[in-house]
Symmetry: C2
Subunit: 371 residues, 2 copies
């Protein structure tokens, strides 16, 4: 009996997974993490109103969700001062990045990103046969000019830029992006991943015309709104571009309770503001914990802080492993020299206390092992 | 400013939507449906244990779901007497069909389905550039032999067959599929959509080896388990085929509460049995309502019944429109001669009462309009 005939592209792909989940680590190691500080989740939780909305909808899950997420898109349009036709809601930014890559990228097409930036974007590009061109970070910042230069050089159809950046937490003022946008090569699209924008200082998001065909922005309810498990993201852009998602997206792919939860979360901006204040305090706390241990950390505009462990990537990996043994889940950048850091998600005092205690021990252990 | 450069395939695609949702109809018509009998949802609702599990998880939605759906897959493996490596969980059968088509179909590849079968499958095939070859129903049944003949004739990589069928509700005994499977052309895969299998008589599902590389089965929590809004489906097949989904799927695409809800639903087989009994009674009731109005209906192994309105497709459309005006949401087949029918989802007594009253009036109105 012969098996299925896969596409040439699929035959060439590895069965790669962008991230190993903490649950998988827990099953492997045989104990649960005491603090979950590795996935930049919203540890301060979702608005109680969002939780209530999802609970109320649990009994209504026998119904399919609204395939056009009408109410949520209307509220988002109102929130951003744009029209619903400029918004597509999808299964998290991950899902939307997959759709976007599929809209633009055929085998051989060039795509530009930063070396060490979001692996899931790279996964989608590879999955549609795109050719990734990577640009180095510049002093732990993504480098917009270098990205745009590389796009021109490679005739790229798509550039990925996260602002604030993940995994470093660094950011550019919106005007930097506004300026560089005017140098975008014709026929190239900038996908601006603003997953962490809610935590950033004012003016971090560039001011552009929503009908500008050169840029699409991605936003999410997974971070500041504390709804990572709900899987609700959205993209904002020119109506013509947004309409194209309807050609390929999984129209009935949205969880119904999640649509209601996201709407309620959006309507509780007071909760969002309190969350962002709490994240800001936790960033200071993480920086302070680093300093207590004689280490520096990077200023961050996101809900995590990159701590410079002071040596190379191998040492930072030791520290991460030691933290895992202490029951603390963190992740780290994978490309030098950013890989000298570990990345710690902001959380409530209790989690920060656990991290503080574990970090000192992990550093002691790592120093001993790392001669 | 120039816009993005779409792929040739995307440029050729219409912005088609497989289905218009009842919510969209409601917004257009300005009133809510009194009975939602058009999308074959599980009107008897999910197990209270599933609802409770989703409510309990609402406050945990700040965490991403487990990307490998470990616990759910383990329970499904146990339930089916197979291994977890033979199961992939995805965002409903719709999502999984999209992944499957992407694994196999490049522009120009042949795919076979029945004319009038599941539009969302066709949407995915078109979305990856596949060429659909359609085979007629045979006496309101999908025709396995004709499908397989057409696959041989066109060198198809994929055949779609739903058993029980949607939209007609008809079915084949499992042995029919077992027998025809031995005539599958080499290099062709049968995707057997068993979304409605829980409602079907014993022996409707074919008995095959899980490692048989010629067949993949799709199952869902959307129908008998009453969790359409949760978006949880799964595919069962040879480990090698299942592993390939990991090359392209949205690993973090599953809603966390939905994973827990599906697990709890699976563990409440008593609720499932009661639901299927209630559906069976409702099928009889719908047949009886048809008979009261001098109409016949098709025997059904699903949670809906196709009522033969006794004239052509235009007349059945009139009846559907008249039902809509009465506040009853139903859908209908679109291809002749199946389009002579309307398709009515099974529901609790109250919904069936509403349908009974509205149907008599709708028929009267349609007869008058349709001279």
């Amino acid at each position: 009996m012969s098996g299925p005939r896969y596409t040439k592209l699929v035959q060439s792909l590895p069965a790669s997974v962008p991230f190993v989940a903490p649950e998988q680590q827990e099953r492997k190691q045989g104990y649960a993490f005491a603090a979950r500080l590795g996935a930049n989740e919203g540890l301060f939780g979702a608005s109680p109103k969002a939780i209530k909305a999802m609970q109320e909808q649990a009994g209504q899950q026998w119904k399919y969700g609204d395939p056009i997420s009408h109410d949520l898109r209307a509220a988002l349009a109102d929130h951003h001062g744009i029209e619903a036709k400029n918004i597509v809601v999808g299964e998290g930014i991950d899902g939307l990045l997959g759709y976007l890559v599929r809209l633009l990228i055929e085998p051989g097409d060039a795509v530009v990103t930063s070396d060490g930036a979001y692996p899931t974007f790279n996964y989608h590009v590879a999955g549609f046969g795109g050719v990734l061109h990577k640009v180095a970070y510049n002093q732990d910042h993504e480098d917009p000019s270098a990205l745009f230069d590389k796009a021109r050089e490679t005739n790229a159809k798509l550039i990925y830029l996260a602002n604030p950046d993940n995994p470093m937490g660094t950011w550019h003022e919106g005007t930097v992006i506004e300026t560089v946008l005017d140098t975008l090569p014709p026929g190239c699209l900038l996908v601006l991943d603003e997953a962490y924008i809610d935590f950033a200082p004012l003016h971090t998001s560039p001011v552009t015309d929503i009908e500008d065909p050169r840029i699409i922005r991605m936003r999410t309810f997974s971070k500041a709104y504390g709804l990572a498990g709900a899987r609700v993201g959205y993209a904002m852009g020119a109506a013509e571009l947004i309409k194209n998602f309807d050609k390929i997206r999984n129209h009935f792919g949205m969880n119904r309770a999640a649509q209601h939860g996201a709407l309620a979360a959006l309507q509780d901006q007071a909760w969002l503001a309190r969350t962002c204040e709490a994240v800001s305090r936790a960033r200071d706390r993480i920086a302070q914990i680093a300093a207590q241990n004689g280490l520096s950390s990077l200023p961050s505009a996101a809900n995590f802080v990159a701590i410079d462990c002071g040596k190379d990537g191998a040492y930072a990996s030791e520290v991460m492993t030691a933290l895992t043994a202490e029951g603390i889940f963190v992740r780290k950048p994978i490309i030098a020299p950013q890989d000298r850091c570990i990345r710690v998600t902001c959380g409530p005092e209790q989690d920060m206390d656990l991290f503080e205690a574990a970090f000192a021990r992990a550093l002691m252990k790592s120093s001993k092992n790392f001669q």
